[in-house]
């Protein structure tokens, strides 16, 4: 219906073009460069398939692929199995303190996964506090946490909340009368769940499952810390790219290309299946949590509380250790703020860097996300569709791969950005834009086109209309998205570990390096500061949006 305006060349065409150029330069071009690099020999500069042949012919690399698939599939299934019922229980049964529990689960999902990894090492590792306690008091030897099982534990706990949030959201849209209708036809109990509820939330499970899959697949910090030689693909890429001895850009690029292709396939497959199974629902009578009695009630409470405690344990324990006295690298009895003092004096610059970089990133994200959301929602067309696809790409491209792609693209004049803060900001913006775009677009979809037409017919210019009418209406979505983008920027590791230099080191990088060096006190202090920042941001989010949930 907007043909008339689309045909006229206006300020929006220029904005669209500018955004387009931004995506071409900072996303399409780097990925293209990565592709080029993977097909040409690094020393001779000739076309060659050597990197790919090397990858597919050596058991060493195929082993990493197999590991990655094992981890990813197991984590995804486990997360659905754990969090699906959790969401169902929380939606149908009254649980004491459920609001607090929801917030705690959300917080547990917002921290950097590798902090979880290192916390679980402190708890269940060889000299972990629980391991020691069990063996000294009961003589029980805990199974080895390093390797596959540890990665599984950490990532499942970290990513289950995503499934929990997705399924909770979907259950909210299921009309209670659907279940009553089933009951009236004598379909009850488990059969009711299986026949009615599961099909209705299947698209959501698939979407949540995909998100978990992608995150588990791309995660680098967790296998690096707790894997102890259990190599997954991101670890492989990192080692090939970074390692001082025998690092090979071209080979890292080739692996990256394979990973992106694989991720794209999974993504398209999920989209195909989800599209065929999607329903639009809105509940007039949402399912209300009901009070129940007896064993079921106790079991429900135990399940919910147990999950929450286990999910929160890493962060709580890390925070606890940050106040412990240290002597050199080891914790000694007693409490002090030494770790914090050390953190500020040793890596204080990383704290400043994190908040400075994140602030600049968020300003750029806020502005461009609101413009992009507007263009893709309100000015549909071929260009807007391509733009929409661009905004989805960061879901598929793992952070470390985007980092590598940016590095190989911007490592020479005239676009010499490697080592600067600019390249980090570019990576952060590209990776974290989608959150803000999505939440802004969600609000914009609710705004009828006639609101803008009203402004235009009253003689308002396109820019005045945008800033006076559209922007105030979508600002809630923009801010909500920006806070989530902000949290994900300050807790992200996989891109910054590739792109940082001494002067642009961020907190997560500092935590990672301190953990690797064994400076657990400093790492704990920094992690705790990160957690506090995250929680404060979330509280701000709750206050501004009036909601108690986040859409990822």
């Amino acid at each position: 219906m907007m043909n008339a305006r689309m045909k006229r060349f206006d300020i929006w065409s220029m904005i669209t073009a500018a955004i387009f150029v931004g995506y071409i330069v900072f996303l399409a071009l780097p990925l293209f460069m990565l592709l080029i690099k993977s097909f040409f020999d690094g020393t001779t500069g000739e076309f060659s398939l050597a990197y790919f042949t090397k990858f597919f012919s050596k058991a060493y690399y195929m082993n990493a692929v197999w590991n990655s698939i094992k981890v990813t599939v197991s984590v995804t299934i486990l997360a659905i199995v754990v969090a699906g019922p959790l969401a169902y229980v929380m939606s149908t049964i009254k649980i004491k303190g459920s609001t607090t529990i929801r917030i705690l689960i959300l917080i547990s999902s917002m921290s950097a996964p590798f902090i979880g990894a290192y916390a679980w090492i402190l708890l269940l590792g060889r000299s972990g506090i629980i391991t020691k306690f069990l063996s000294q008091v009961f003589g029980i030897e805990m199974p080895d946490i390093y390797g596959f099982s540890g990665i599984l534990l950490v990532l499942t706990l970290q990513l289950s909340p995503l499934i929990f949030m997705y399924v909770s959201g979907a259950l909210k849209n299921v009309d209670h009368s659907l279940l009553e209708a089933a009951e009236s036809m004598n379909v009850t109990g488990l059969r009711k769940m299986w026949k009615v509820l599961v099909p209705l939330i299947t698209p959501t499970l698939l979407a949540g499952g995909l998100l978990v899959f992608m995150r588990a697949f791309a995660d680098f910090g967790t296998p690096m810390l707790i894997g102890e030689g259990y190599r997954t693909v991101p670890v492989l890429i990192f080692n090939e790219f970074i390692s001082e001895v025998g690092g090979d850009d071209g080979f890292a690029a080739a692996i990256s290309v394979i990973v992106v292709l694989f991720a794209t396939t999974v993504f398209l497959l999920q989209k195909y299946v989800a599209n065929r199974k999607s329903y639009s629902m809105s509940a007039l009578n949402p399912i209300e949590p009901k009070k129940i009695k007896g064993v079921a009630n106790i079991a429900a409470h135990v399940y919910v509380y147990l999950f929450t405690i286990v999910a929160m344990m890493p962060q709580v324990y890390v925070a606890y250790t940050s106040f412990q006295k240290t002597s050199g690298k080891i914790f000694v009895p007693g409490y002090s703020l030494d770790s914090y003092r050390a953190a500020f004096s040793k890596v204080g610059d990383s704290i400043l860097n994190t908040f400075l970089l994140a602030s600049i990133t968020i300003v750029i994200i806020t502005l461009s996300a609101s413009l992009i959301a507007y263009v893709t929602v309100k000015r549909k067309g071929a260009v807007a569709n391509v733009l929409d696809t661009f905004t989805m790409l960061p879901y598929i491209v793992p952070g470390s791969i985007l980092g590598i792609a940016l590095l190989v693209t911007f490592n020479k004049q005239p676009l010499m950005l490697s080592g600067t803060a600019a390249i980090l900001i570019a990576a952060f913006v590209i990776r974290r834009l989608p959150y803000t775009i999505r939440s802004s677009a969600a609000v914009l979809h609710q705004v009828s086109d006639s609101i803008e037409e009203a402004a235009i017919s009253l003689g308002s210019s396109p820019m005045r209309t945008f800033f006076k009418v559209t922007m105030p209406m979508m600002i809630s979505g923009v801010i909500a998205g920006a806070i989530i983008s902000w949290i994900s920027v300050i807790t992200e590791l996989s891109t910054s570990i590739i792109l940082y230099t001494g002067s642009t080191r961020t907190m997560t990088v500092a935590v990672y390096t301190e953990v690797v060096r064994g400076n657990y006190g400093v790492a704990a202090a920094l992690s705790t500061l990160l957690t506090v920042a995250t929680v404060l941001s979330l509280l701000l989010f709750f206050k501004l949006t009036g909601k108690k949930e986040v859409s990822m």
């Binding site: 008339a4 037409e453 402004a455 017919s457 009253l458 003689g459 209406m473």
Partner: protein, 365 residues
């Protein structure tokens, strides 16, 4: 200043699909003109072409003779009331109304003065500082109307403005709209699918179907002498009855329904050509109960007492069911199952050719 709007062979296409083929129409200055038709008939498309939100693929549209095809929506000096009202939710009532004035670079006092005046006209002065979410549907409607007319537009466009209101409020608001329009005297183009609403507010109505105007006329013309069968059935309720025209030796025409009932139709006498099979449009109130046992024989299959009138569904002897409206009588109650005889009011009914495209009894078709 009000304008006359004229369409000369206007064409609207979406890609390859032609939605409006070569439409011509003139809307007079100061007139309350309604585009009436079922959904998908092109009425809203035409309205949005006037507003400039839809492009024009052929022909010319003029305001007082000035071509408007390429003028941007904001430069057409149009006031528009949207179906959803499109009130800015983040601005209060007076800010909403002042929005268009602010783009016109008026001084503050002047804006305040004009907002005050219009608030009085639409009678919402007491809500001036309210936010839209605290207004009822009818009040929001008045804000939308005030915002559209405060800029002194050349044309006021209204796109199904009453469809979101409940029945009683709809009647109140349409009276208010009609009265305010008369007061300010702006050329108004109104879109609706509700024929009763169209008749209540309009000076003239264009009935549309499939992008083509079927009939333009006053509400009275359209109801009493519809141009074709579609207009007859769309505006008001009617019964379509198959019949044959017969002429006596003096050339006087009459309709023959079934094999027992004949009624002379004087208005057909002037038509020279031979007419055979026809379709009659007989509105429910154009049937009368025959006092004797002559006319169309039928059985009452349903009798519905509605106070002023009693609605009957009558099954005629040849099987067709017709609707009949009779005045409710005190004693003479017609029961379901009763056998009755009906006659038609010959001067009121419309006679169409078999295709339904031509009205023999008059009208503009």
């Amino acid at each position: 200043m009000s304008v006359a709007i004229s369409f000369n062979n206007i064409v609207k296409k979406y890609g390859e699909a032609t939605v409006i083929p070569e439409l011509s129409l003139t809307i007079k200055e100061g007139e309350f003109f309604t585009l009436l038709g079922p959904s998908g008939c092109g009425k809203t498309t035409l309205l949005r072409m006037i507003a400039g939100f839809n492009s024009i693929e052929g022909g010319e549209m003029t305001f007082n003779g000035r071509a408007m095809n390429q003028v941007a929506p904001g430069k057409r000096n149009i006031g528009m009331v949207f179906q959803s009202y499109a009130i800015f939710p983040h601005l209060n009532v007076s800010e909403n109304i002042a929005f268009g004035l602010q783009t016109r670079k008026l001084v503050k006092q002047e804006i305040a003065k004009q907002v005050d005046e219009i608030l009085k006209v639409v009678q919402i002065e007491q809500y001036r500082d309210r936010m839209p979410k605290n207004l009822s549907g009818g009040q929001q409607q008045r804000v939308a109307l005030a915002r559209a007319i405060v800029i002194k537009p050349d044309v006021l466009l209204m796109d199904e403005p009453l469809s979101n209101l409940d029945a009683q409020l709809r009647v109140d608001m349409r009276n208010a709209i009609k009265q305010i329009q008369r007061e300010v005297g702006i050329t108004t183009v109104y879109v609706t699918h509700d024929q009763e609403e169209a008749m209540a507010v309009s000076d003239r109505i264009a009935v549309m179907k499939g992008g083509v105007i079927q009939h333009v006329g006053t509400p009275r013309e359209i109801y009493q002498r519809p141009a074709n069968l579609f207009v007859a059935t769309f505006v008001g309720r009617t019964n379509i009855i198959e019949a044959v025209i017969a002429r006596n030796e003096r050339g006087e025409a009459s309709v023959v329904i079934g094999d027992s009932y004949q009624e002379s139709i004087p208005s057909l006498n002037r038509i020279q050509e031979a007419i055979g099979a026809v379709k009659l449009s007989v509105r429910p109130e154009e049937f009368v109960l025959s006092p004797d046992q002559t006319g169309l024989k039928g059985t009452v299959v349903n009798s519905m007492f509605l106070g002023l009138n009693t609605h009957l569904t009558v099954k005629l002897s040849h099987g067709q069911e017709v609707e009949v409206i009779t005045q409710s009588e005190l004693d003479d109650v017609i029961e379901t199952g009763e056998r009755i005889y009906l006659k038609i009011l010959a001067e009121k009914i419309n006679v169409f050719d078999a295709s339904g495209n031509r009205n023999f009894t008059g009208g503009t078709g």
